[in-house]
């Protein structure tokens, strides 16, 4: 049981198994080992940098995923011919390829360059990570939008056309606002998945939150659970606040429904 990963799993399993019994107290005492919490606290800045990296990659990937995925979904619904087929095939390939493979292809095969933005420069590993996760997210997001765009009744588009809007305008002013509202639940899912999948970038040498946690408890094997709990708490806060923010957005833009409707 020297492998820290196995240790961590064993620790979590034992906590889960023992909780109903009186042994829960023992587990709490175990978690509360002062020296190990001190170890976590003293490395909080190290983990904090990882958390920032995680947030950065997530936000950039989700945005890239939206910017590429929304038009892709629209092309799948409204497009035809070669473009529609091409978009659909690229989507199938991206969704069907393991994320590690996508990242490795981006980093080692495509060899994306470092990007200088004046103030900050983004390493090529970071660029590859964002591109990989972002394009995969685009492939998934395109399906969210494909579903919600198709779910808007055809009569809405037709009514838009009947007052003289072009097809593009009718989609833009009538269908899209309704589809985006319906996309929020699917988007919450996608955000949560991308957030947790950022840990995969360790495959191309990026030390985000989970990788740094792993490094820490490999160093101090008695603090496995403390580190894991601390990291989980960060993930939870990120997921919870974002999901609540999207809930709020959903409520704020909800279309009022009458009693008689």
């Amino acid at each position: 049981m020297s492998d820290p990963g196995t240790l961590a799993l064993a620790a979590i399993a034992s906590v889960a198994a023992d909780l109903p019994a009186g042994a829960a107290l023992a587990a709490l005492a175990f978690i509360g080992e002062a020296a190990d919490w001190e170890f976590v606290v003293s490395n909080a800045d190290y983990l904090g940098v990882g958390a920032l990296l995680t947030i950065g990659i997530t936000v950039a990937s989700i945005l890239l995923g939206f910017v590429v995925g929304f038009p892709a979904g629209a092309v799948e619904v409204y497009g035809d011919g070669l473009l529609e087929r091409a978009v659909s095939i690229v989507g199938i390939v991206l969704r069907g390829t393991p994320i590690v493979v996508i990242l490795i292809v981006m980093y080692f095969v495509v060899g994306v360059p470092q990007i200088n933005l004046g103030v900050v420069s983004i390493s090529s590993a970071m660029t590859a990570g964002i591109l990989g996760l972002g394009l995969r997210s685009a492939a998934y997001q395109s399906q969210i939008f494909r579903a919600t765009l198709s779910s808007v009744d055809d009569g809405q588009l037709e009514a838009g056309r009947s007052i003289g809007l072009s097809r593009f305008e009718a989609v833009r002013y009538v269908v899209v606002p309704q589809a985006l509202r319906r996309s929020i639940p699917g988007f919450q899912n996608e955000f949560t998945i991308v957030l947790k999948d950022t840990s995969i970038v360790f495959a191309i040498g990026l030390a985000e939150l989970l990788t740094r946690g792993y490094d820490l408890f490999s160093e101090q094997t008695t603090a496995v659970l403390e580190v894991i709990l601390f990291i989980s708490a960060i993930y939870f806060v990120l997921t919870f606040t974002t999901n609540r923010a999207l809930d709020y957005l959903g409520d704020h833009y909800a279309i009022p429904e009458g009693e008689s409707a």
Binding site: G155, A159, S162, I163, G164, V174, P177, I255, E257, G258
Partner: protein, 248 residues
């Protein structure tokens, strides 16, 4: 009334696959006329109506509106629809917009009016259909009759020269039909040119200048309401009117 042939439909035919839904349909309307298309379901009357603003494409024949060929491949359909209002059986109000938002969208985005001008126009049209109190209600907060009146206001806000009504009261509860017909009566009185598909025979009888009876994609008979209702020339017309009457 002068014979200006404002709308002239000539030998219009349309197929869905192998099935012919319109078979050389012809009729004419003058400016200010009200023409009512009647016929059993599946007779092609809604399809005929939709060919006039190109929501459906006729494959043969000619539709001339105010001297312009509607079926021409070079026609700017958006420009055509700017001038031809349409009211749908299922209302098709924009679900995410208020009553004002529904009516203002066309003036704002198609006619290029400013936000304030579009809102003013929308409010005026909603008042015209008796919805001065419902400016900021969403479609789902309105009754069916109110929704359909918003639908009419939305079409009127474009200041159309022809209004198409596709069974405007068929989806309404009986007690809500009256308010929509009342608005339509008002438009007739104002001299609006209207092409109406409906099963409301009393409305047709009262306001129509001409009734066109369609069955199986053919014009079976057409003429002023008195003639069609009192002395139909064709057996099919008589039988259809009797069936309708027995439901009233």
């Amino acid at each position: 009334m002068s014979d200006d042939d404002f709308l002239r439909v000539t030998d219009v035919s349309k197929w869905y696959g192998d099935e012919q839904v319109l078979n050389e349909v012809s009729f004419e309307m003058n400016r200010g006329d009200v023409t009512v298309l009647i016929g059993p379901s599946g007779s092609g009357k809604s399809t005929m109506l939709r060919c006039v603003n190109r929501l459906a494409e006729a494959q043969e024949g000619s539709i001339r509106l105010d001297g312009e060929e509607v079926l021409s491949p070079d026609l700017d359909v958006n420009a055509l629809r700017r001038e031809v209002g349409m009211v749908f059986q299922g209302f098709n109000l924009f679900a995410h917009l208020t009553a004002v938002g529904n009516v203002a969208l066309g003036p704002r985005r198609v006619l290029g009016l400013s936000e304030a001008e579009a809102r003013d126009r929308a409010e005026a049209q909603l008042e015209r259909v008796g919805l001065g109190e419902q400016f900021d209600s969403y479609p789902a907060e309105l009754s069916g009759g109110q929704q359909q009146r918003v639908g009419i206001a939305r079409a009127l806000a474009m200041q159309p020269k022809l209004m198409l009504f596709d069974e405007p009261t068929s989806a309404l509860d009986p007690e809500l039909i009256g308010e929509v017909l009342e608005v339509m009566h008002g438009l007739v009185d104002e001299g609006m040119t209207m092409l109406v598909v409906t099963h409301e025979m009393s409305f047709a009888r009262e306001v129509a200048d001409e009734i066109v009876f369609l069955d199986d994609g053919h014009v079976i008979e057409r003429g002023p309401p008195e003639q069609l209702f009192e002395n139909p020339e064709e057996d099919r017309t008589g039988r259809f009117l009797e069936r309708i009457a027995s439901h009233d």
